[in-house]
Symmetry: C2
Subunit: 253 residues, 2 copies
C-alpha cells in the first residue's frame, strides 16, 4: 500500500493510495483512540471512490462514529482502465436501458457479477493492507456498505471474508450468483429496497433478502427510484454503530 | 374522563380512567416541561391496555422521549364486555386458525374492521379528553402506534383524524377497507412487516404499504412470525422522536 496524498479537513484525514493497480482512499478521524472500527465503502457503478455523495457518507461515519472508512475504485472505474469486454457490456446495457428493453437488468447483472469476481480479491488485499497500518491494527471490527454494483461486489465478498461482521446492501440486479452467495452469509444484514425502481423488480429484492442466512436482518423499503436514498432519518437504525461498536472516547451522535 | 387510580414508579405516573364505558390508562413523565407529545398506543387483539409488553413500550416512550402515552381497551377487550356477534366471530376465527383454514385471515379481518368501526369514535373522544387535561394541553403533537387489531383501528382513525401527525402500523390482515383508508393518509408512516407470518400473506403488507398516500413512509421487513417484534434496535429509527419532537428539557436517549 503506497500513500499518494494526505490532506485533512473538518476533523477527517484523507489519504489516497495505490495497492498494485488498485486506486483507493482511506478516511480517518484526526484524533481518537486506537482500535476504531473500519467500514469498507463500495461505490455504485458509474461512479468512483471520490463521488460527492459517497465522500459525504464516509465523512459522516468518521466524524459521527469515529470510524475509519476505506474505498477502492472498482475495476474499470475512477482512474482504472476499462477492459474491452467491459466496454462492450456497458455499451450493451446502456442501449438496452435507452430502448427500455427487459433484458437490461440481466445484462447489467452479468456485468456486475464479472466486475465482482475481479473486485473481491482486491478488497481482500485492501483489508490486509489497511489492517497492517500501525494506526488501525489487526483486530478492528469491519463492516461493508455498498449499493448496486457495490452490493454485487459486497455479497460475494462477505460470503468468503470472515473478517466482515456486518453489512449493508441494496439496489441489486437479479443474478443467481447473488442468491447462492447470500445463502452463505450469517452476519447481521441491513438491506435497502426502493419500491419504484423501474430497472429492478422488487420481487428479486425480497427473494435475495430471504436468501441471507442471517437471523439478524432487516429490509427497509421505501418509495423512490434507483439510487434515491432517503436521508431524512427514516432508514437510520445506527446499523454500524450497533454492530461494530463505537470508537471509545468519541462523542455521541 | 374519570380517573380511577394513580400510581407512580421509575419516573412514570400511571393514571387509569374511564370515559363513558371505555376503560383506559394514561402514562406520563413524573417531571418535565409542558407541551410533551402524546402517543396513542393501541393494544393488539386478544390483549388489553395493561399487557406487559405494551406497558413496557409505553414506559420506554415516557422515560426515553418524555412523551405522554394513552391506551384504551378495544371493544370486547380488557374489562369491556364482548358482544354476542364478537363472540361468534372470535369462535369462528379460532376454529379456522386451529384447522389451518385459508379463510382464517378474512374472518379475522372482518372482525377487526367491525371492532375498528366502534373504536374510532372512542379514540377521538379519548383525544378530546386527554387534550383537555391541564398538564397536557390542546396543542401537543400526536402520534398513533398499533399493530394487528390496533393497526386495523389506527388506519381508519388516522384517515379521519387530522390531529394525528405520524403513525406506526404493522401485522394487518387483508381487508379492502384498510386499502381505502390508507389512500386517505398523507402523514409520515412506519410499517412493520414480519416475513414469516403464516396467518398474513406478505403480499398484502406490500399492497397496503403502497396504498398510503404519504411521501415519507418506510416499511421495515424482518424474519419472524406474527407479533414477534425484534427489540434489538434493527427497527429503531427514532420515528416518533423525529416526527413529534422531543419534550424540551428531557435527557437524550
Amino acid at each position: 500500500m503506497h500513500f499518494t496524498s494526505e490532506t485533512s479537513s473538518n476533523g477527517v484525514i484523507e489519504r489516497t493510495f495505490t495497492l498494485d493497480d488498485v486506486t483507493g482512499v482511506l478516511w480517518s478521524p484526526e484524533s481518537g483512540p486506537a482500535g476504531a472500527p473500519l467500514v469498507l465503502a463500495g461505490h455504485p457503478g458509474g461512479l468512483d471512490k471520490k463521488a460527492p455523495g459517497h465522500v459525504a457518507r464516509a465523512h459522516s461515519s468518521v466524524t459521527i462514529d469515529g470510524f475509519h472508512v476505506v474505498s477502492i475504485d472498482a475495476p474499470g472505474h475512477g482512474g482504472r482502465p476499462r477492459s474491452a469486454q467491459d466496454e462492450r457490456w456497458v455499451a450493451e446495457f446502456r442501449r438496452a436501458r435507452a430502448e427500455g428493453s427487459p433484458s437490461f437488468g440481466h445484462i447489467l447483472a452479468d456485468y456486475c457479477a464479472s466486475v465482482a469476481e475481479r473486485a473481491v480479491p482486491e478488497w481482500q488485499a485492501t483489508i490486509d493492507a489497511v489492517l497492517a497500518l500501525p494506526d488501525i491494527g489487526a483486530h478492528v471490527p469491519i463492516g461493508y456498505s455498498g449499493m448496486s454494483l457495490a452490493g454485487a461486489i459486497g455479497i460475494p465478498l462477505a460470503a468468503v471474508e470472515p473478517r466482515i461482521t456486518a453489512a449493508r446492501f441494496g439496489w441489486l440486479s437479479e443474478h443467481d450468483s447473488l442468491l447462492a452467495a447470500a445463502k452463505q452469509i450469517t452476519i447481521p444484514i441491513e438491506y435497502l429496497l426502493p419500491l419504484d425502481d423501474k430497472e429492478i423488480p422488487r420481487g428479486f429484492g425480497l427473494e435475495l433478502f430471504d436468501a441471507f442466512a442471517s437471523a439478524d436482518k432487516v429490509l427497509h423499503a421505501f418509495p423512490g427510484g434507483h439510487a434515491q436514498v432517503p436521508t431524512d432519518g427514516r432508514l437510520d437504525t445506527r446499523f454500524f454503530a450497533r454492530h461494530l461498536g463505537r470508537a471509545v472516547g468519541r462523542p455521541a451522535a
